[in-house]
């Protein structure tokens, strides 16, 4: 088990390194730059800005400084929002994005697991067919399609919920964004759970439990569910990564002041320190999520834990 942890940790390092290096390379390669959007600057001012933003020094010095900065979580100043550093901007938006992502993950897991189990147990029934059709649709309809439609229906036509905005964090403003973000993952988790549970229920050891006269509840909870959950656990890593991507869209649609929205603005404005800073953050988070998922999986599966 300890070997597993070490192995996975060491495995994550090349990925992190690749992300960091790629970020650095892209930063330096960009033609033009943030200054293009502004009116032409007099050369001395430009030179001053270049020095301030550190673009003059030789490449290896820049790399060293970059790595050092990263270690201190200093992601540099934003090119566009001149009074802020990237780290500050990220901190501002972090609360919103975290609330959004966290709520979506919890909703997706709870709803997805329940629906998936129910569909598996009532396999072949109309309930099952309905759940699966909804699941396929949910997975296939992109977030940026579902969001506006939900906003249209619940915000405009029915007027049950506010259309957009953050509203200082009041729950009503979170409902539509969270549902929109969570929907594809509810669907994916439901499908996974269903398939996994059906396959587990067909295993020979379930038959052994039935032959002992175990009740359906006992069979489900003690024998079937623990191994059936494993594939879903594996999925949580990629799911968390996907939630990050999705949050970018959802924040844009619903006008939430989170990290994702800064990211999109940065991309359009070619504010590349901001954009790269966010990508570093996301990349790091994805690596951490995948690592956590692998470790949890290893801990849950007795064949791995006790080998």
């Amino acid at each position: 088990m300890f070997r597993l942890i070490c192995g996975r940790l060491l495995g994550a390092i090349p990925t992190l390194m690749a992300i960091v290096l790629l970020g650095f390379v892209l930063m330096r390669l960009a033609p033009g730059g943030p200054f293009d959007a502004e009116r032409a600057l007099p050369p001395e001012v430009e030179a001053q800005l270049r020095a301030q933003y550190d673009l003059d020094a030789p490449l290896h010095e820049q790399l060293a400084r970059y790595l050092a900065d990263l270690a201190r979580f200093d992601l540099g100043p934003s090119f566009k929002y001149k009074d802020f550093t990237v780290a500050e901007l990220i901190r501002d938006g972090a609360g919103v994005s975290a609330a959004l992502g966290g709520a979506a993950l919890v909703l997706a897991a709870a709803l997805g697991l329940t629906l998936g189990c129910a569909a598996a147990l009532k396999r072949g029934s109309r309930f099952d067919a309905a759940v699966m059709t909804l699941a396929v649709s949910g997975q296939v309809i992109p977030t940026f399609v579902m969001g506006p439609i939900l906003a249209l229906v619940f915000g405009l036509w029915l007027r049950w919920l506010p259309l957009a905005g953050w509203g200082g964090g009041r729950p009503a403003f979170l409902i539509l964004p969270v549902i929109t973000l969570a929907l594809p993952y509810v669907a994916a988790i439901a499908r996974l759970m269903r398939a996994s549970l059906i396959e587990t229920m067909n295993e020979s050891y379930i038959r052994t439990a039935r032959a002992k006269g175990a009740s359906p509840a006992r069979i489900l909870l003690c024998h079937a569910l623990p191994p059936a959950l494993l594939p879903v656990v594996s999925y949580l890593g990629p799911a968390a990564a996907g939630l990050l991507t999705g949050s970018v869209v959802v924040e844009t649609i619903f006008g939430l002041p989170g990290i994702g929205r800064y990211f999109v603005q940065g991309a359009i404005n070619r504010d590349y320190t901001l954009v790269l800073g966010v990508v570093m953050l996301y990349g790091g988070l994805i690596v951490v999520f995948n690592l956590a998922t692998d470790l949890i999986y290893g801990w849950l599966d007795p064949r791995v834990r006790r080998s």
Partner: protein
């Protein structure tokens, strides 16, 4: 009154290809304390009969008929009432203990589970009883085993644990569905002894399902023989075996006796075809972060093969017999040792023309054929590599001739493997092996996956072909019956070493090396029985 009465049981499965009848009207009875063996091959319905009787069928199965257990009608019984019976009055032991035990629950909890369900014991109480039971199954260090998980035990240990779990509630009936089929012969012998002891101690009735008539003879008071979902013959063990009436029963009986081995004619003057000395094969696997684990699959193996002779290579699973022939055929590179072909040394990879001289027939008839190629194309493959001199038409004619030679219609050349049966596909594999006129053919458990009838036919075919073509045969198997029919000389492997070698007939009669003796003694065989003319 009988404990179990099954009357005209019918079991049908709904499949995409239409309804399929597995059991077509079976009736049998079992008295208290009696042992009944249900014998048949795969597809005979032997397992489905008992599973259906106690409501354990797969979802797409339907049951009709009557099953009375201890006076109560089971067909149509509401599920919660059936659950009260199962596990308390009836215990089940299934075929493959590794897949039949829940992988994430410790053994102790699984053994005591029926006690928690039916006697409402606490977890600790159930555990203690479980450790007790495991000790009765002659498992040393029962407390330690109770803490472990299924994958940490050996096959024999797991099966003992399953038996312990089934007997926890002292049921009136123990149903064992091929409990020893997945185990080595020596372990099988131990488990059968254990069952006999337990029967004496607990006095329960036993319904034992198996494909091996000799195992049935050892275990049961009465035998019922099944074929294609029907009982073809049944009766008391002794009478049935002394004078079997149905041809199928006789076929099974023949498969369960050890025939006399073919005579061995030593040929010291002839030049050896293939000679190997000190072969060693290691497999390395990555372990942990940077380490590598080396496992020795074959150690210091030496053997000589003369032209035209048939050598049997026997051993239990993991003994290295498959590795040996793969090393000889150059499919695996040995880490040490020397191989000579016709006096000249060989090094892997073997040159292409040499490949023509040695061929292999695999165990899995379907897996050995490329599913995307027609059967004819598969047989043609060695020709397209080695016989470029032949024209298209010439090759086609040769393929047709060989199809005929192995007992198949030449028209089957355009069929795909999934359209043919296992037996037919194995004939195709044999045709492919022999078509390039090799001097050596290795058969890796070539008949193990076939039913008794087909097995017999294929062994006859191989014997014929060997006589006709003068090919040397290396016959790898764990089944001594096949070796005794075909091979004049035999080599015995145990834990990656060759432990015994010699004429088959002398090997069978003497005790020889302790391992060989154990192996031969463990083989279930029918008591002296005279063969009636067909």
């Amino acid at each position: 009154m009988s404990l179990l009465e099954i009357d005209t049981l019918r079991v049908t499965f709904d499949t995409p290809a239409g309804p399929a009848e597995a059991v077509r009207g079976i009736s049998l009875t079992l008295a208290e304390g009696e042992a009944l063996a249900i014998v048949g091959e795969s597809g005979s319905g032997k397992s489905q009969t008992l599973l259906a009787a106690f409501g354990l069928l797969a979802r797409n199965g339907r049951t009709e008929g009557s099953v009375r257990f201890d006076g109560q009608e089971l067909i149509g019984l509401p599920p919660h009432e059936m659950r009260q019976r199962l596990g308390r009055d009836i215990g089940f032991v299934f075929q493959d203990p590794l897949s039949s035990l829940t992988p994430h629950i410790p053994i102790g909890d699984q053994v005591g589970e029926a006690l928690r369900i039916h006697e409402r014991l606490s977890r600790r109480e159930a555990r203690d009883r479980a450790i007790d039971l495991l000790a009765r199954m002659k498992l040393p260090d029962a407390a330690e085993i109770a803490r472990r998980y299924p994958h940490q035990l050996s096959g024999g240990q797991r099966q003992r644990a399953m038996i312990a779990a089934a007997l926890a509630t002292r049921p009136k009936l123990l149903i064992a569905d091929e409990p020893t089929t997945a185990l080595d012969v020596t372990v099988q012998a131990e488990i059968l002894h254990l069952l006999a002891d337990l029967r004496r101690e607990y006095g329960m009735a036993l319904a034992f399902v198996t494909h091996d008539l000799a195992v049935a003879a050892q275990v049961a008071d009465r035998i019922a023989v099944l074929q294609h979902g029907r009982i073809v013959e049944s009766g008391e063990t002794r009478t049935l075996l002394a004078a079997p009436r149905h041809p199928y029963t006789r076929l099974l009986a023949e498969a369960a006796t050890l025939p006399a081995a073919p005579a061995y004619t030593p040929r010291p003057a002839a030049r050896p075809l293939l000679a190997a000395r000190g072969l060693r094969v290691d497999y390395t696997q990555p372990r942990g972060l940077f380490g590598r684990e080396t496992r020795c699959a074959l150690d210091d193996a030496s053997l000589t093969v003369y032209p035209g002779e048939a050598i049997g290579i026997v051993g239990e699973s993991g003994s290295g017999k498959s590795t040996l022939i793969r090393a000889l055929l150059g499919l695996v590179t040995p880490s040490a040792g020397a191989i000579e072909w016709g006096g000249r040394p060989l090094h892997a990879p073997y040159p292409r023309p040499l490949r023509r001289e040695m061929q292999i027939v695999h165990q899995d008839p379907f897996g050995a054929l490329d599913p995307r190629m027609t059967v004819g194309a598969s047989i043609d493959e060695p020709l397209s590599i080695h016989r470029r001199d032949l024209s298209q038409r010439g090759r086609k004619a040769l393929v047709a001739a060989w199809l005929h030679r192995v007992g198949l219609s030449p028209q089957l050349a355009d069929r795909y493997p999934h359209e043919l049966s296992g037996g037919q596909n194995q004939r195709v594999n044999i045709a492919r092996a022999f078509i390039s006129q090799p001097r050596l053919v290795a058969c890796d458990e070539a008949v193990s996956a076939l039913d008794a009838q087909t097995k017999s036919e294929i062994l006859d075919l191989l014997a014929d072909l060997q006589r006709e073509t003068g090919v040397a045969l290396l016959f790898v198997t764990h089944d001594f019956h096949a070796v005794a029919r075909l091979c004049s000389r035999t080599i015995v492997l145990h834990r990656s070493k060759i432990v015994d070698a010699g004429e088959t007939s002398s090997l069978m009669s003497r005790a020889g090396h302790p391992t060989t003796g154990d192996l031969i003694a463990a083989i279930p065989r029918l008591p002296a029985w005279e063969r009636h003319p067909a």
